[in-house]
């Protein structure tokens, strides 16, 4: 039985007529850049997340970069984040000229609030917690520390759209919340996209300028900036996708429940925990296991596709050489990076596939 890592082809097949119609409507309007389709998507997204404002952009990476710029972060500043995320979290900090300061994660693979205060210096300008794979970071603890030290929080929600933390949506819990709308995300365009949500009117105004070359109107440039906009046709595509988002989340959660019930008693595996006040909209379902590389190869031979998010933490990448980190600096992250394995949880995974995958895993360890 062949198990693919994603099921995007089938998901698109089911709705491609609607997607094409949406694109045709944008074409009728002739409004390919900015305009009513973008605004309509932003309004709907802000409502769903529960924040006042949503500002769409060209990518999740740009969402982080423009958020940092909106807060005035630049050369000489430091920003605290985690080393086990996708590289964008760290590169966005470097690309505005600031220095990423890493802090180790906890057993749930998100920033450990207990490690934050020691990393704060006079140069710290912001904290970027990541909700890795959809699992919410401990925002109450993080926000308490941030308030105490008068620091804004930008949360990297790229993998956590629709996740909930204590009755609120992830994306409504920080100063600025950054989402990705990349084709492999749970809310996905058919090209690059990103969006920031916030309740802060001043920051919203800054972001609207920063994404549009600093132009207040066609003839007035009030500050230098770049160009980072979500295409109208992608916004129209996303409006269609929003209709199916809730069902998709439920499908993925149902997959996860199916895995957990089948492999929870295998001693060589530890499973992620969903805490009582969370509702995780899984972007990835990540287990930790012994002999991870061998298990991955074994499953590959059985045509079961898995992935690793991510095998080499950012602080041990070639790029971080100048940051001065070394092996041993983040023991929890490093330990996890050798044990993590992502199992597929898309809409094509039915009970029979779950049985097959879990039997195979059991077979490996027996």
């Amino acid at each position: 039985m062949k198990i693919n890592y994603t099921n995007l082809q089938n998901e698109h097949r089911a709705i491609k007529h609607e997607l094409i119609e949406a694109i045709a409507t944008v074409l009728d309007s002739g409004k390919f850049v900015a305009g009513p389709y973008v605004e309509s998507f932003e309004d709907e997204f802000a409502k769903i997340i529960g924040n006042k404002y949503a500002i769409s952009l060209n990518s999740g990476t740009d969402a982080l970069i423009l958020s940092l710029r909106a807060l005035g972060v630049s050369a000489g500043d430091e920003v605290i984040t985690v080393p086990n995320s996708y590289v964008s979290t760290a590169s966005s900090i470097a690309l505005v000229g600031a220095k990423p300061i890493f802090v180790d994660v906890d057993q749930h693979r998100n920033i450990n609030p207990a490690n934050i205060e020691d990393a704060i210096s006079s140069r710290t300008k912001a904290i970027i917690p990541v909700h890795l794979g959809g699992k919410p970071a401990d925002m109450d603890s993080i926000n308490a520390i941030a308030v105490k030290h008068n620091l804004p929080v930008i949360d990297d929600c790229a993998q956590s759209v629709f996740s909930r933390y204590k009755e609120k949506c992830v994306g409504s819990l920080a100063t600025l919340s950054c989402f990705s709308l990349h084709p492999l995300k749970n809310l996905n365009a058919c090209g690059d996209g990103g969006i920031v949500t916030t309740n802060n009117a001043k920051l919203k105004e800054r972001l609207l300028l920063l994404r549009n070359l600093g132009l207040r109107d066609r003839n007035n440039c009030v500050e230098w900036s770049s160009n980072s906009r979500l295409d109208s046709i992608q916004a129209a595509i996303l409006k269609v996708k929003l209709k199916y988002a809730e069902q998709q989340v439920m499908n993925r959660r149902s997959c996860v429940a199916g895995y957990i019930s089948r492999i929870r008693e295998i001693p060589q595996i530890s499973l992620p925990k969903e805490l009582p006040y969370e509702n995780i909209a899984y972007h990835t379902f990540v287990i930790q296991c012994e002999r991870r590389d061998d298990l991955k190869k074994y499953l590959e031979k059985l045509e079961i596709k898995t992935a690793i998010h991510y095998p080499v933490p950012i602080h041990l990448q070639a790029v971080s050489g100048s940051l001065g980190y070394k092996k041993g600096d983040f023991p929890e992250t490093e330990k996890q990076s050798a044990r993590i394995l992502t199992l597929p949880i898309h809409s094509g995974i039915k009970d029979s596939q779950l049985d097959y995958i879990c039997e195979s895993i059991r077979g490996f360890y027996s």
């Binding site: 097949r13 491609k16 060209n58 964008s88 132009l215 440039c221 900036s225 046709i233 690793i308 790029v319």
Partner: protein, 371 residues
């Protein structure tokens, strides 16, 4: 006197009146899910490089990003100065500022391109690069600019956002710079259905590095060589581009034809209407048809009232914009650009105009000055 006509500046509805072939291509792409750095993008980049008559094309998110990446890949940053023209679109200056470097402006000439004679005075020990802009589709005097840049060891990045298929002495734009940057914005000569840009270069090593730089610096899925941007031309937009790119030369010819007709007619209105000097060694691609006109503001209102959607590119030069406030420029610093800003007017001259609309435009301009 002919009846009122509406002569639009934009042309998207006319250009894409038959959208079914495009939608078919998009349908196929969506089904394939090859949506990021996909096959259609590689195909488009190869075709684009051929049009440019240069070897390597790298699709990025916008013309502005093309400029930013071109500067940053050479390490241009805080403390550096980069020279460009005071009359260009603000994105050129914005791109310089986004690297942390300081934009330094110089005046333009009668053809709306950078004046080489002004370059040396603007060079300081901090100057690292110069961005000549092929504004409106005219080509800057690259031979003179190159001589000066080489003498002072300056990097040249060509801002070709408005100049696809333009040539100087039969050499394509991009022949002189380390890279040339193009825009695929919906209002450009070669346009897609959203933001997009292309960097073109003759340097293979640089092209390889730029491909990493636009894609998070990822050598492969798990290895980051350096911190990179996310700035990729959407494969979906490349699909659109692949349908249009074969007609670029035809599109260019029609723009040239219309502009020639305007040039010939408006020569009769000299000096009230002043057509820029057309250099015979340039193939101007007329992304914008701009003349200087007496009583410009009244002419603009008159034409709009008559249904002709004329515009101004741009009424306020960059050095007098609020964004430049901290750079210390003032009125009088760039007399040519400043005088032009008060007199320039852009007429619709796109390939989707009918001959009747072109004639109507000529008629109305003449009517305005017929007193």
């Amino acid at each position: 006197m002919t009846a009122h006509q509406n002569v639009p500046f934009g042309y998207l509805k006319r250009q894409f009146s038959d959208i079914d072939p495009y939608l078919e291509d998009i349908r196929a792409l969506i089904q394939s899910t090859d949506l990021t750095l996909g096959k259609a993008l590689v195909e488009f980049e190869n075709k684009f490089a051929k049009i440019c008559q240069l070897p390597y094309a790298i699709g990025v998110a916008s013309g502005t990003d093309a400029l930013i990446l071109s500067l940053k890949i050479h390490g241009i940053g805080p403390g550096d100065e980069v020279i460009t023209a005071a009359n260009t679109f603000i994105a050129t200056a914005g791109a310089i500022a986004m690297t942390g470097a300081t934009p330094v402006f110089i005046d333009c000439d009668n053809g709306f391109v950078l004046d080489p004679e002004k370059i040396e005075d603007a060079i300081s020990p901090k100057t690292k690069a110069i961005i000549p802009v092929h504004f409106t589709g005219n080509v800057a005097d690259m031979e003179s600019i190159s001589k000066i840049a080489n003498a002072h060891n300056l990097l040249i990045i060509e801002d070709g956002c408005q100049s696809i298929a333009a040539t100087l002495n039969s050499k394509p734009v991009g022949s002189w710079g380390s890279t040339i940057c193009f825009s695929l914005h919906p209002l450009k000569n070669l346009n897609v259905w959203g933001d997009g840009g292309v960097i073109v270069t003759q340097n293979e090593a640089l092209a390889d590095k730029l491909r990493l730089f636009r894609n998070h610096g990822l050598v492969n899925r798990d290895e980051v060589e350096f911190f990179g941007h996310n700035s990729r031309l959407d494969t979906l937009q490349a699909v659109i581009g692949n349908r249009i790119i074969d007609s670029v030369l035809e599109i260019t010819e029609r723009r040239i034809q219309i502009s020639k007709k305007f040039d010939e007619s408006f020569a009769n209105l000299y000096p009230r209407v002043r057509v820029p000097t057309r250099r015979s060694e340039v193939r101007h691609v007329f992304h914008l048809y701009i003349v200087e006109a007496e009583n410009r503001d009244k002419l603009l209102s008159f034409l709009i009232e008559k249904g002709i959607r004329a515009k101004i590119h741009y009424p306020t030069p960059i050095h007098l914009q609020k964004a430049s406030a901290h750079l210390g420029y003032k009125e009088g610093d760039f007399p040519v650009a400043e005088a032009q800003a008060k007199s320039i007017i852009t007429l619709p001259a796109h390939p989707y105009l009918t001959d009747s609309e072109v004639d109507y435009t000529i008629e109305k301009v003449n009517e305005f000055y017929a007193d």
